[in-house]
């Protein structure tokens, strides 16, 4: 029960922090390397949280959010992986890959949210034409709905990992997952190295 309550609080916190990634501030508070240890500290696994967070960040560094491209969501991935480890009791390796998957899948949710928001333009235009200005309301609405969707998403994915952990024999594949997980830092470093090497040698 306490774990579930912590999961709810963590999901809400993840929803708030995620706002920083696009909609508010952009101070890098939503980066996985920070979300991971923060939620890890809340759930009693700060070290694993930091490890999961930085590895997710290294993997997601490959994606650049330019021109309105929806990149995989690092904050969501870090939050889900920390909760999958602390709440569902999954091994860090399994939690990591589950988190990566959830962050990638969130692209579709974000895409939908952005499409839905397009419909508001007509409403806002009509308001302004009738000499009514409520932009602060629409901004607040976007922030609140965005945060609520992220919180619900993180909680759902984490709850799914709890369910999967209790139904499936995940321990059976842990050695294979651990092996793949141990190679992830190198994959991340590869991304970090070649990204800048390309920039340096670009004519």
């Amino acid at each position: 029960m306490i774990l579930a309550a912590k999961a709810v609080i963590s999901s809400l916190l993840a929803g708030l922090l995620e706002l920083d990634s696009v909609q508010a501030g952009q101070f890098l508070l939503s980066r996985p390397a920070l979300v991971g240890p923060l939620l890890g500290a809340l759930n009693g696994c700060v070290l694993e949280g930091a490890r999961l967070g930085i590895l997710i960040e290294l993997i997601y560094i490959d994606f650049v959010p330019i021109g309105g491209v929806v990149s995989p969501n690092g904050a969501v991935a870090a939050a889900v992986s920390v909760l999958a480890h602390s709440w569902a009791g999954l091994d860090p390796s399994l939690a990591f890959f589950w988190g990566l998957f959830s962050g990638r899948m969130y692209c579709f949710v974000e895409y939908r949210l952005r499409s839905v928001r397009s419909r508001r333009n007509g409403v806002i235009d009509a308001e302004v034409k009738s000499q009514k200005e409520r932009l602060h309301y629409w901004i607040a609405d976007s922030l609140f709905s965005g945060s609520a969707v992220v919180s619900a998403y993180v909680f759902s994915f984490s709850a799914a990992s709890v369910l999967a952990g209790s139904v499936l024999n995940t321990k059976a594949i842990v050695p294979a997952m651990n092996f793949a997980y141990s190679l992830m830092p190198w994959l991340g470093l590869s991304g970090l190295y070649f990204r800048f090497r390309t920039q340096i040698y670009k004519k």
Partner: protein, 295 residues
């Protein structure tokens, strides 16, 4: 240039009152709130510009007309939006002093969109392409200097202090945020100073040289981190083992680097590499058993 002249032609002496920079600056942190596919950052931009429009037009009909104009499509790099915000605030101020014609409105919109594209290109290369990855590098450097190698060894038992764990990501975020806040503010002021010109703010810095220097700095960090990773790997994981085993162990990260490079050159994302690694791990595990992966 024609655009600059025209905006200046319609301008008359305007109010000496400065635009509400502080309110616009604070609101610029929400420039991407309400991001939508139809008009991208239009809601956030209009929201940030609102104090300037109120100052210039009050609550007259022209205020709503100006607001509606600024709810058109808009997209730029969020940290560089200040340049355009300041510029548009200045142009609206000039517009308010003269008659509002279709041509003057078109010029304002043209300058705004042209600058948005230019600053998006510059900002993306600085912030998304270099500074953001640099914060990850800073995190790794802080952790490594503090003796926390959890980012490299996924199963190693370590007990770093919590302050060190938090210091890594916070240091990068702090450097990044200070820099981005500076440009948000400077952009707003500079944009207002040279407002009405279609090259306004583009000469605020020698951007290509700055970008080049950032690239060199980031690449240097990458080299240091990669060398440190291999050094730590050899020193902590391979030390004391027979030479063939060391060679085999070193082959694993090198293979990952090679596969990633090959997949990247083929135009596929990093998820394909992860899929390949997972597939190879599971295949080895089911074919040879857990012992084969106990490296």
């Amino acid at each position: 240039m024609k655009a600059d002249m025209h905006v200046n032609q319609v301008s008359r002496p305007v109010t000496a009152a400065r635009p509400p920079f502080a309110a616009m600056f604070l609101r610029s942190f929400f420039i991407q709130a309400g991001w939508n596919y139809e008009r991208n950052q239009n809601i956030g931009f209009a929201f940030a510009l609102l104090p300037a429009l109120r100052r210039v037009y009050g609550s007259t009909e022209r205020f709503y007309s100006a607001l509606l104009r600024n709810l058109e499509f808009f997209n730029t790099q969020p940290y560089m939006a200040g340049f355009i915000l300041g510029n548009v605030a200045k142009m609206e101020e000039k517009l308010s002093a003269g008659p509002e014609t279709a041509e003057t409105i078109k010029i304002v919109s043209g300058v705004k969109q042209a600058l948005a594209s230019s600053f998006a290109s510059i900002g993306d290369r600085i912030f998304w392409g270099r500074l953001k990855p640099m914060t990850t590098q800073l995190c790794l450097i802080v952790w490594t200097l503090g003796g926390f190698y959890g980012w490299l060894f996924t199963s190693r038992a370590e007990y770093p202090p919590v302050w060190l764990i938090m210091l890594g990501p916070v240091s990068g975020a702090a450097v990044y945020s200070l820099f981005s806040i500076y440009w948000r503010w400077k952009g707003l002021r500079a944009g207002f100073e040279c407002g009405g010109t279609s090259n306004c703010g583009l000469d605020a810095m020698e951007w290509p040289r700055f970008i080049r220097r950032l690239s060199v700095l980031c690449f240097s960090f990458s080299v240091i981190i990669t060398l440190a990773a291999f050094g730590l790997f050899i020193g902590l994981d391979c030390y004391g083992r027979p030479l063939p085993e060391i060679g085999f162990r070193l082959l694993l990260p090198l293979s990952v680097l090679a596969v990633h490079r090959a997949v990247h050159k083929l135009g596929y994302s990093i998820f394909w590499v992860i899929g390949l690694i997972l597939l190879a791990s599971l295949s080895l595990f089911f074919a040879l058993g857990a012992g084969a992966l106990n490296l």
